[in-house]
């Protein structure tokens, strides 16, 4: 009834036009309204209404809302619990009837509760007019009727409005959205609240049955007090082992018991005795024969600077302190900074103490130990003990005079065999002949291009020299010669009868021109062979070898006026060649190796490997058993030719590339010159017995040349009979060094 009144209120409020509204719809509307009310009102009203609802169960087919139902149920349950805990109370096999006094008759009557259209309810009892059954309704699509009723009469198709009607209906009828199309009846049918509730439940994934309680209390059928059922699983008699003890267990136990009795096992040993370790005299028995392991090195003892009150000079300056703090702890020389405290009580705890102990332990077990012999030697004992240079005199010590070429570097230098005359040729093409003793220039020759090399003929009966310029060798006789020597020279260079030409044709041309004052004889090397960079004589003075800048090696025989190339093919570019002073051997220095050939047998004897990147100079000892090789990589190698093809001694003392080397022909001296502008004089004594090593003593460093364009002293030569040295440099100076 309340539902009706409330629905009336809404209608009044809305002022909507009255329409025939079914009870069901009222109820539904009311229910939705009810939810809007505040709870207390609700509760009261519901409480007051309950009785009425029960009073009129018939009318209330659709109006009873969910809440009503629940409250009803609650009441029911309460009633039931009040009635007693019968087992049947839970079983709703059939709804219990209520006995009430009829209003009409005034007599008691039984009223059964409303049957809800649930799953439980039997829909077959519903009175549906169409009785066609469950057949596809499209069979009737073309027919005016939609089926037959119970009496076999046609049920006519209800009139269906057009779309506009439908729309109007939805507008007018607020309940249109709760109706569904009934296929059977071919018309809209409003859904009951129960059905809506089911739909809602299905939407929310709940159990569609509103009555279903997922948390029902369990019913103990066979458990619990008094309901146990004792049912033996088998009828077998109980085995013997159930009441007789195990033999084996007994044996084991007896074993332990015996052990305890004999005292082998002490049960519940006193703990203290076990944990307390007893020390004993471990070193009383004699030690094993094993040597003891190496003891760990002890840490170094503290020094003055670690004192709490060190002398003030030990205290670090601010810069030192900052430096110490900036370095990594591993790289520090000391792991502490000296500090000074005026008294002992002010000394703080040392915060690195544990860390240092830990580091010591890491050293002990992680650091590999190496036994190192401590070298405690005077470094000066490492320097080889050599005889004093003053005891090895004479050797050149000072510069006695300088002969200067005005222009150009003096690359070529030669001393006459008697040691009185010097020849020097510069890059400007000037060759000067001057006296060694006074430095007076006697004669000057001018060539058109730079002088590659020049050399005196070593013969004593004749006097001439050879100048290498531009693919040509000029044979020149110096002026002011005694007539006998001059004639001998003339006859040897330009004999009256020329020797017969060689059978093998040579590309080298020998041209004599006695008319020219420049040269008496010219040897024209094949064109474009380059400037002859080296001219070297055989000791007898008949053979002469030249090396051109192009790499060609020629051996010229003066007496036969013949030139020949000793090698068909040379591996590497030839830098230098030398004749052996006593044997028919020929040294050829390529860029990295020195090869020794036997000229008479025409074969390779030996290859020396100095280990120099680029050989610059080479000279052979007058005895012929030793060879020195200098390189642009500052190395000087001394070879003992009897010994090995590896150097006997390698020295590196020049700051820059070695340019020239020369052995003194008679004195045990040799000199080396370098691009650093220094000349190094060595004493080099060679012994006849094979057991004694050659003695090499550095004697003197001569400095006097200036370095020009990175070039220093280009050539050094010894005077034949004096311990005098003549050196020519890139500065155009030719110095004579005397002892």
């Amino acid at each position: 009834m309340v539902a009706v009144t409330t629905s009336k209120d809404t209608r009044k409020r809305k002022q909507a036009p009255q329409e025939e509204v079914t009870n069901e719809r009222n109820g539904l509307n009311g229910a939705s309204n009810l939810e809007m009310h505040s709870d207390d009102e609700d509760g009261e009203e519901i409480g007051s209404d309950d009785g009425e609802v029960e009073d009129f169960p018939e009318i209330d087919v659709a109006s009873d809302s969910e809440e009503d139902e629940e409250s009803e149920e609650d009441e029911e349950e309460a009633d039931e619990s009040g009635e007693g805990d019968s087992d049947d109370s839970d079983l709703h096999i059939f709804p219990k009837p209520k006995t009430i006094v009829s209003d009409i008759t005034g007599r008691p009557k039984r009223v059964y509760p409303e049957i809800e259209p649930d799953y439980d309810s039997d829909s077959s009892t519903e009175d549906t007019p169409n009785r066609v059954g469950d057949v596809p309704m499209h069979w009737y699509d073309d027919l005016p009727h939609i089926g037959y009723d119970i009496n076999g009469k046609q049920v006519l198709r209800p009139a269906r409005g057009d779309e506009l009607d439908k729309f109007l209906k939805t507008v007018d009828d607020p309940d249109a959205w709760t109706s569904a199309f009934d296929k059977n009846m071919q018309g809209d049918k409003a859904l009951s609240p129960q059905e809506l509730d089911i739909i809602r439940r299905l939407y929310e994934g709940e159990n569609p049955d509103a009555q279903y309680d997922p948390y029902e209390p369990t019913i103990e059928w066979f458990t619990g007090k008094g309901k146990e059922e004792v049912m033996p699983l088998s009828a077998a008699p109980e085995p013997k082992r159930r009441w007789i003890g195990s033999k084996w267990e007994k044996k084991k136990i007896m074993k332990i018991v015996r052990a305890i009795r004999q005292g082998r096992i002490i049960p519940n040993k006193p703990k203290t005795k076990e944990s307390k370790f007893q020390f004993y005299s471990i070193w009383s028995e004699p030690p094993s024969s094993h040597p003891p392991p190496l003891p760990a090195p002890k840490p170094s003892l503290p020094t003055n600077s670690e004192s709490y009150n060190p002398p003030e000079e030990y205290l670090p300056t601010d810069a030192e302190r900052a430096e110490w703090q900036a370095t990594d702890p591993e790289d520090r020389e000391r792991n502490y900074l000296p500090q000074k405290y005026s008294s002992l009580r002010l000394v703080p705890g040392y915060d690195q103490f544990i860390k240092e102990r830990f580091n010591r332990q890491l050293d002990l077990y992680l650091a590999p130990r190496i036994q190192r012999t401590k070298i405690n030697i005077d470094p000066n004992t490492l320097i080889p003990k050599l005889p004093s240079p003053s005891s090895l005199k004479p050797f050149p010590t000072y510069k006695s005079l300088t002969f200067t070429h005005a222009r150009g570097r003096v690359r070529a230098l030669s001393i006459s065999p008697d040691g009185a005359w010097a020849l020097s040729g510069d890059e400007d093409g000037v060759v000067s002949l001057w006296e060694v003793n006074v430095g007076k220039e006697i004669k000057r020759w001018k060539f058109e291009s730079k002088i590659g090399s020049l050399d005196w003929c070593p013969r004593s009966d004749v006097t001439y020299f050879v100048v290498g310029v531009d693919d040509t060798l000029h044979f020149i006789i110096p002026p002011n010669l005694p007539s006998a020597i001059f004639s001998a020279t003339q006859s040897s260079l330009a004999p009256a009868t020329l020797p017969p030409p060689s059978a093998i044709p040579s590309p080298v041309k020998w041209v004599s021109n006695s008319s020219s004052d420049l040269s008496i004889l010219k040897v024209e090397l094949p064109p474009s062979s380059g400037t002859p960079t080296q001219i070297t004589w055989h000791r007898r003075g008949d053979y002469m070898s030249t090396v051109s800048s192009g790499g060609g090696v020629w051996i010229h025989q003066i007496s036969r006026r013949h030139s020949q190339a000793p090698f068909k093919k040379v591996r590497g570019s030839v830098q230098l060649v030398l004749f052996h002073p006593t044997k028919p051997h020929f040294f050829v220095a390529t860029q990295q190796y020195v090869r020794i050939y036997n000229l008479s047998e025409q074969k390779l004897l030996k290859t020396l490997m100095p280990g120099i990147r680029w050989i610059s100079s080479m000279d052979v000892h007058p005895s012929g058993d030793h060879l020195i090789v200098g390189g642009y990589d500052r190395k000087l190698c001394w070879f003992d030719l009897e010994l090995s093809d590896k150097p006997y001694k390698v020295m590196r003392y020049h700051v820059k590339a070695i340019r020239s080397l020369h052995f003194h022909p008679t004195y045990p001296l040799f000199a080396s010159s370098s691009d650093d502008g220094a000349i190094q004089i060595f004493h080099a004594r060679v012994y006849n017995d094979l057991m004694t090593d050659p003695l090499i003593v550095p004697l003197k460093i001569l400095r006097g040349h200036t370095v020009k364009d990175g070039l220093g002293v280009l050539q050094v030569r010894w005077c034949n009979r004096q311990p005098w040295l003549i050196s020519s440099g890139a500065d155009g100076a030719v110095n004579v060094w005397c002892s």
Binding site: F279, N304, E356, L364, Y365
Partner: protein, 614 residues
Amino acid sequence: MGRLRQKGKAGAAKAYITRTSAIKKLQCSLADFRRLCILKGIFPREPRSRKKANKGSSAPTSFYYTKDIAYLAHEPVLRKLREHKAFAKKLSRALGRGEWSSAKTLEDNKPVYKLDHIIKERYPTFIDALRDIDDALCMAFLFASLPSNSRLPPELIENCTRLASEWQLYIMHTRCLRKVFLSIKGVYYQAEVMDQSITWLVPYQFTQSIPPDVDVRVMLTFLELYQTLLGFVFFKLYADAGFAYPPPLDTQKDEGAAGVGAFSLQTVMRSVQAAPSKSETIGKKVSGKEVRQTIKSIDASTDQDMEVDPSPTQDTVADIEEEFVVHPSSTDPQSSAALPTLHSLFALPQTAQTSLFSPYTFWLSRETSRPVFEFLVRSFGGRIGWPASSGGGSAFGEDDESITHVIIDRPLIEMTPEERQRRTRRKYVQPQWIVDCINAGKILLEEPYAQGKTLPPHLSPFGERAGAYDPTEAVPDVAEAESEAESEEEEAVIQAEEEEEEEEGKQALRAAADVAADDAGALRAAELAAEAAGVDYDAFEKEVSKSRKKAKKVAVEDKDADAEQDMNKMLMSNKQRKLYERIKHSQGKRNTERTKLEERKKNLVKQKKCEAKA
């Protein structure tokens, strides 16, 4: 053709083993391996060629000797470690199942390894062990000062404290402390026991905290070994000195913070007869007759000992014994029985300086560190007392008349007349005095060390390396020379200004010329001075050139010698040259260090002079 040699079957590849493969071979964890290495003293080796040892690989690894690892495989400790692993598994299973009783049984029968065989193996003789206890002592003293926490159980700390005290007790009684050094890191002590110098470092009394980058497990493993080692070494030392080991601890004193004083040395019977008498005394069934008998027997035994052991100090010992024998009734048998073994104590070699402080009685002021100075004074025969605030066990109070020195470390303040009166009788010194006396081996003057005075520098008694800067000498004469030169120059100038006698002026001039010959600035100054002095320029020139020549001659000679040496260096082999250069480099470094310090000292002296003048 011989047999084919396979690679990696001989030589370095076989002799060395990497750590990973060593662990694999021993089938233990890295932690266990580390533990074994620490205990057994096995350390990595550096093979001559790492590549050969590592089968061609040059990856950074640490190598061990294969034989070392092979010996490790039979190590009983390794077996125990494996047992412990099994035990840990069993225990955790029992705990997980809630089987408490079986867990308890397991816990009771936990495998524990002993280290005595390792001690014997690593140190076959006692001297070997004694030589190696430096680190052990450091660790014991360090851990004695640490607070206990969950990683450091209190028993461990207690044991370390006990070991430290035992060592100090031994040192004090045998008077074998030699050197002490108060450094910023702590106090270094050096003792000479059985001809071995043992140095140990004790931190100052501050609470240390273990930094987070220190692996405590490593330290504890080392400590495990060190505790055992120290135990055995002390046992032997005490036994040789005739004392019982471990010395009994007076718990009451210990609780009163008596420190070393809580332990007392107890002599033990060495003769066979002495043993029953001891048991009898314990049993309290001693009759006078028995006492007399035992004394007689002891007397006999000591006589025998004396014959065996003719040491110079025996006479005094015998005297003492005789004294005690004369009055046996006053002593209880135990003390009389204790006497004969004392001779072993005195048998140790003693020098005069070991009883340095014996005529004196010291009183420690409250702010000085009691453990340090008690140890120092007592180990040099002095008596020492301290206020109750520094701990219990002081033999006398502050008002004792016998006190001769007070070690005090606070600034001078106003005194009460009573105090002043007391001061006249006592000498108040700063703590450094004690240490310097010990290092000097004699009693130094107290005056420079008096209270409130600026202390003289405290130098290391261990000395510096040979040729290093010595702060005690060399500097004054340098300073003097310089000052002389300075004064001479000054004199010269002054004299020249005053235009006094010519000769003197000339002399001065010569000096000036000498000085100035090699310095252009100085030359000009000298010239001016000469002009002012009225000396003619020619004379001056002559003088200067003469001195220059002289200098040049010397220089030339020097140069010649140097040049010769330099030339001879050409003929050195590469190896020799490198060695030479290395030595020269280190020498140069040392020399610069030395000259730097000397320079600073000079400056300081100058500064001080200036201040004194001002």
